[in-house]
């Protein structure tokens, strides 16, 4: 069996009494682009830093291509590339000096040609000192450093943060090319439209727990529905006050509903009144997310809703 590109099994991380990660388990299959989502402080960076053995888990096991990130960290990191979310570079070096330093850290005599190609494609002058670069250009350097060795598994913490739209597009193209060549890309982002465009799968984490890991299409389709129902005459104001159903707005006889998990309760409630038209819209990932994070339900309820979805 081919081993997973990234696999976390019951990984926990405790800081004193605070549980930053609580038995986190997920799998990223090889060759996929997988998004890693969650609010600030949810534990995304903690999980990513465990993959690089920068921090050690309090329990559980993380592997990359079958190598244990803690005990076989060198072998794992040989196959990995990393863009930290809080990117810090040596300000007194130039981009090309940094590229050379990182090539030599990987035991390469020279910078792979791909590195110089990337400088051109992302429109970065590699001979400028890092200290004099703008935030966006520093981000390009960080990306180029991560991508240059063409690692099997790329872990990117907010890769397009600070980049202009043109460069963002080019970065996406490069990532597509790498994924097409069988490389695995695992990236965290707050830009949901980007995740929606790029990823086949997403892992969603909240308060140190994985709350969902599935196809983007599946997640959109199964966990949230937007309904636009036209009735022949006005219906009572409290007609759709049901668990998991939220009335978004009402224009005369037309009611817009957002329904989490399955449609059963909502459809039965709708059927009590004469229906003229019923449309369903596919929610954007953003709407799915807001539904995940905004409501006040307990995590147990959410888990149950997802499980039944």
């Amino acid at each position: 069996m081919k081993s997973a590109a990234i696999e976390l099994v019951d990984v926990s991380k405790k800081y004193g009494s605070v549980l930053a990660l609580d038995r986190v388990s997920f799998v990223v299959p090889p060759g996929e682009i997988c998004g890693f989502l969650g609010p600030n402080g949810a534990g995304k960076t903690t999980a990513i830093r465990i993959l690089f053995d920068l921090i050690r888990p309090s329990g559980g096991k993380a592997t990359v291509l079958g190598f244990d990130c803690q005990t076989d960290g060198l072998e794992a990191r040989q196959q990995m590339g990393y863009l930290p979310g809080d990117l810090r570079l040596y300000e007194n070096l130039t981009g090309s000096q940094l590229l050379r330093l990182f090539a030599s850290l990987r035991g390469q005599r020279a910078v792979p040609e791909f590195g110089w190609d990337l400088c051109e494609r992302l429109m970065l002058n590699p001979d400028e000192k890092i200290g004099s670069l703008s935030k966006g250009n520093k981000q390009k350097v960080g990306l180029i450093l991560a991508l240059t060795p063409r690692p099997q598994v790329l872990v990117l913490d907010e890769p397009t943060s600070g980049l202009d739209p043109l460069v963002q597009e080019e970065v996406e193209r490069v990532l597509w090319e790498l994924a097409g060549a069988g490389h695995t890309i695992f990236f965290s982002s707050h830009v949901l439209s980007e995740v929606e465009r790029m990823c086949q799968r997403v892992v969603i984490i909240r308060n140190g727990r994985v709350v969902a890991q599935e196809d983007v299409a599946g997640l959109r389709g199964r966990s949230l529905h937007i309904l636009e129902v036209t009735f022949s005459h006005p219906v009572p104001g409290d007609a759709f006050r049901l668990p998991g159903v939220q009335e978004l707005r009402r224009d005369g006889n037309v009611v817009h509903l957002q329904v989490r998990s399955n449609l059963d309760a909502a459809v039965k409630a709708i059927a009590c009144y004469p229906v003229v038209d019923l449309r369903t819209e596919q929610p954007s990932l953003e709407e799915v997310f807001l539904a995940f994070y905004r409501d006040e339900e307990s995590q147990a309820d959410r888990g149950a809703a997802l499980a039944s979805a």
Partner: protein, 282 residues
């Protein structure tokens, strides 16, 4: 053979410090040698105060050996220890505080290897400072009327290496263990100042004599020009330095690498609602 990338990077970062410390010492060395002949006669009559004698050990101030002990050998380690503390704390804690450690360690390099290459770089930098210092002797002693063996002066210069490395690796270890550069700098500077004065005052105050052994400066061969090289004291310092170096590697291998700050990329699309959970720097 894998490239010593971290070693060369660390040495590169230290190059100007090495140059300026070395050049400063060389200049001072040449200066004290050059002015010796004009002071020699006055020195013979000079009644050296007891407090000052403590500083230079048992040396006769009028002899070239005594004079150079007081004017050079006695104060050089105070300055090199400053270099040591700066270099030692920046090696691990400094890199961590700057946030560059994440990117370094995300590469296929073990923490042990990284720490050992940094230790080697500090060792080479320290030896380089003393080597540049020796240029001061070479450029002055042959041209001045002073009766002293050049080899003894080289030995005396090299003799600051063990005490410097002791403090460098102590600082590196403190920085790796805490891990806080400022805190480590403060503590090791405190230890150095206390150690220096305990050792110095012990020669004047009997009460302190039994504790002088606890100061690293006790093992610095202050009397190297007058009494010769003391192998045992040097070995004691080398052992101490090695112990601190091993301690630095071990604490660095064991613990989590800190992050500089929380993610500073706020959501551009919407605010994540959070429910009373404290955001952590994780």
């Amino acid at each position: 053979m894998p490239a010593l990338s971290v070693f060369s990077k660390t040495l590169r970062d230290l190059r100007w410090q090495v140059f300026w410390y070395g050049a400063g010492f060389a200049l001072m060395a040449a200066l004290v040698v050059v002015i010796y002949p004009s002071y020699r006669d006055q020195l013979a009559d000079f009644e050296i105060p007891e407090a000052l004698q403590g500083l230079i050990g048992d040396a006769d101030y009028a002899s070239p050996e005594g004079y150079l002990t007081a004017e050079f050998v006695s104060w050089v380690p105070i300055i090199t220890v400053i270099f040591a503390i700066m270099a030692g704390t920046s090696a691990l804690a400094g890199e961590e505080a700057a946030g560059t450690m994440d990117l370094l360690l995300s590469q296929p390099i073990s923490r042990r290897r990284l720490a050992v290459e940094k230790i080697a770089a500090i060792l080479v930098a320290t030896v380089a400072i003393t080597a540049i210092t020796c240029l001061g002797w070479v450029s002055s002693v042959p041209f001045v009327d002073i009766d002293i063996d050049m080899v003894d002066l080289f030995t005396a210069s090299l003799n600051v290496v063990p005490i410097t490395l002791t403090f460098a690796f102590m600082a590196m270890w403190a920085g790796a263990a805490m891990p806080d550069r400022r805190g480590a700098t403060g503590i090791v500077t405190g230890v150095a100042v206390l150690g220096y004065f305990v050792n110095y005052l012990a020669q004047l105050v009997d009460v302190l004599r039994p504790v002088a052994w606890a100061s690293p400066f006790h093992y610095y061969g202050l009397d190297i020009l007058t009494a010769g090289f003391d192998l045992w004291k040097t070995l004691a310092l080398v052992g101490l330095a090695a112990g601190f170096a091993i301690g630095a590697v071990r604490s660095f291998e064991r613990r989590d690498i800190g992050v500089r700050s929380t993610s500073h990329f706020p959501s551009t699309l919407f605010r994540w609602p959070h429910r009373g959970r404290v955001e952590r720097a994780v």
